[in-house]
């Protein structure tokens, strides 16, 4: 099957080119330190032999990998896709590679993967949100791994981060909903446990409701994980309440998609019979029928900033800034005036 011919190493290149391994290494890493003539000869040999540097050996000797790790809660839906894509592109442009893992929203798994990425020599890390044990932060600090948090940014925490205030953002949307005359609000929230974004969003709604003189304790809330069918199921349950809610606010666009789809199935017209809102403004939001009113998050901008700041931290130019991004409301057909 496989040709037994062994894989060429730096030594092979050096021997064939008639130079020392140090010179070959320099050709690959610090061109300017090698004379043009030598470099040319070495490069020719590298091509002839089909030599590729061994990453692990390089990482070991150089103690750096030009690799950034990112751990996102899920790859199953597109919530993080666009931001991550921008993150990756920005890193790539600066000569860094990205390693992605998904933690399936399990803190335990996230901790494991953080260790795995650090063990692999990641120069820096991108994590989503704040919620994780202090021991994880301690570990990261002890190992000296620069870490950025994204998709959240809290005024009262000063860890390096880029994102927005999930609570304030959702409160803004709820204020808008209330100002349009809605009184009977129901909520489909993501799982709060271990997810500060979901927690903030729910809190935002409650704060808004309270500020409008209503009792936040009266609001029906269903907590479920971010999957379309869960949104659908939750919506069906909420619609059995009498009197029916006039609006169902969802923790993200995925849940809202499920809700809208179930509404069609139940023969409920949106927004005539009931309004629905989302959060994130992923592509999905504007192919739904009617299009989804949601909180617009600047995914690409967030990804770019995260990458730039993280690189600055890794290269020692920054100790980790906090950047709060503005979000806005994308008003579309799924929310109506009462």
């Amino acid at each position: 099957m496989t040709t037994p011919r062994s894989i060429p190493t730096l030594d092979d290149v050096a021997r064939v080119a008639g130079v020392s391994t140090a010179t070959v290494s320099r050709c690959l890493n610090e061109e300017q330190k090698v004379s043009a003539k030598t470099r040319e000869r070495v490069m020719k040999v590298i091509n002839e032999l089909g030599y590729t540097p061994n990453f692990n050996a390089r990482a070991m000797a150089a103690k750096r990998t030009n690799t950034i790790g990112a751990i996102i809660p899920t790859m199953e839906n597109a919530i993080f896709a666009r931001g991550l894509q921008a993150f990756q592109e920005t890193l790539y442009a600066s000569g860094y590679n990205l390693l992605v893992s998904s933690s399936a929203y399990q803190p335990q798994l996230e901790a494991e993967q953080i260790r795995a990425l650090v063990a692999r020599g990641a120069d820096g890390l991108l994590l989503i949100g704040y919620a994780r044990g202090q021991e994880v932060y301690d570990y990261l600090e002890r190992r000296g791994i620069p870490t950025m948090l994204a998709w959240a940014s809290l005024p009262d925490r000063d860890h390096a981060s880029v994102g927005f205030d999930n609570c304030a953002a959702m409160r803004m949307l709820a204020d808008r909903v209330l100002s349009m005359g809605h009184i009977r609000i129901a909520v489909i929230s993501g799982i709060i446990e271990g997810n500060d974004r979901a927690e903030g969003r729910l809190r935002g709604i409650k704060e808004s409701v309270a500020a409008h003189g209503l009792d936040p304790g009266q609001i029906p809330v269903i907590e479920t994980s971010y999957e379309i069918e869960n949104g659908a199921a939750a919506f069906e349950t909420l619609m059995q309440i009498d009197p029916k809610p006039t609006v169902v606010m969802c923790g993200n666009d995925v849940l809202a998609a499920g809700a809208i789809s179930k509404a069609h199935e139940l023969g409920l017209r949106i927004p005539d019979d009931v309004s629905i809102t989302g959060f994130d403004d992923i592509e999905l939001a504007s192919v739904l029928q009617p299009q989804l009113t949601t909180v617009h998050v600047p995914h690409r901008e967030m990804g770019c900033i995260a990458a730039k700041e993280l690189i600055d931290m890794v290269e020692g130019r920054s100790t980790g800034a906090k950047q709060q991004l503005a979000v806005s409301i994308s008003m579309r057909g799924s929310l109506r005036q009462i």
Copy 2:
């Protein structure tokens, strides 16, 4: 910022525990070769010191990484998400880790990333489809890296693969469309260049049309990359043809989502004014309104099989089998009888 206390190594553990490095290594890798008493003592020290093995050093010494690499064309939409998730879960269950990169549908980038993953010591690789230069296959064979191809499986190629015959699958759908009385078919295809799946799907439609005694050359085809807005734009263009197509067959669900969304915008009713079909049956397909008639692909099954077969190849139990999966048609509201 960072505590300068240095990172514990195997040597540190060995010294503190009063054993040799070999013994510590054995505790971590071949428990049964160490007495219970010693193991216990060593493990205690490992925890106290917060020791984590250095992956790169381990990879170097052991010449294997328990890591599988996967390169998918895009992470931006969910086409590969579910299959990849299943792939990952299956690998994880067998003690393997997954490293994912995205090639943005660029063969050149894919080749680069293959080299990068191999340089990192990936024990095996998962690639999508067949279309890539022979030199890539040669490289992989020379390095002895087991490679699985997924999302495609061609009768006349015998590379290890798991997937389906894209051409046959789409031909089946087209046959169905034609049998329902459609005569004026239009197509929104993905970019053919460098994408054998897209090419096969388009060919499937043409073969079906030809088999029904029509001229495949007459069918309007717009080729565009897999993004919702591109599907929308293409649909708008196709609807300007006179007489209008009775059905627009799309290369995948993402393009179809764009088409449906544009149809609403144009005030065209689906399926009354025009039918639309997709391919893949991702979650999106059933939240669209009307729900999308599409080719159902067994994503999870494909991911699982790919993982199992690849592990068998890596561990020398298989030399690479080819498995063809059956696809089916998900008949839903977007396609109607004429």
